[in-house]
Symmetry: C2
Subunit: 122 residues, 2 copies
Amino acid sequence: MHEEMRRAFTMLAGKWKLEIMWLLNQRTHRFGELRKQIPGITQHMLTSQLRELEADGLVVRTVFAEVPPRVEYEMTDKARGLGPTMQALTAWWEQYGHTLPPRPSARGRKPSGPAAPRETGS
Amino acid sequence: MHEEMRRAFTMLAGKWKLEIMWLLNQRTHRFGELRKQIPGITQHMLTSQLRELEADGLVVRTVFAEVPPRVEYEMTDKARGLGPTMQALTAWWEQYGHTLPPRPSARGRKPSGPAAPRETGS
DNA sequence: ACGGATAGTATGGAAGATGTGACTAATGGG
DNA sequence: CCCATTAGTCACATCTTCCATACTATCCGT
């Protein structure tokens, strides 16, 4: 049932989590790489999102005792099971992405909806 | 490369969008059905998330001229291409979901304190 | 000793996303 | 007349995220 799934949705519903997981699904990244790959994200947000993913058991954080410091983020085995999901998402976008409307995510919308089709004939 | 994908992430990054799309991927729902299926969501949020999905060309909104009103939400053909993604996500959760740590994400859906009741204007 | 590099933590005000109850519209039943 | 129903809308409250800045810690080069 989808009540079980709710946990999964919550884990991935963050504003940046899908993108982070998508990148980590390709390869291990270090902190600074993720920050460059995701323009617009701040250190603060990247840190907190990664911590949440780590707490959810999706990401492993490895600190190397080097100077300058190096921290790598890697998917766990569990999260690697998301590979097919990511591939399916990528394939979907390749197929349909370019057919979507230009930039409609703005809050404004058209004043009136389509004419109501009278279905049940009342 | 993945800059193209960013559009897809944005479209699905809303707090409730994955869950809504997962439900609509199964079948057409009317407004009230979605509201019951997604405990915790408010009318306001359900409306706005659906409007965004509609604006992104992922769902179709059909208003039936009946009383009481009936509005049905259905996936577009484009969004139906997400089927494999949803299936992969479901399969992943069935396989790994129960192995995840008890620690829920900090951003989890928890009820907030009682909002200060506003003075009903006289 | 100082600054550069990396990966953070901490703070604070602003912007944006989300949450809440109250309210509307049309119609049938009591 | 009043209530129930359904799918919203509205004004406002609160939570999350943004963004800049400041600070920590280590080692190397100067």
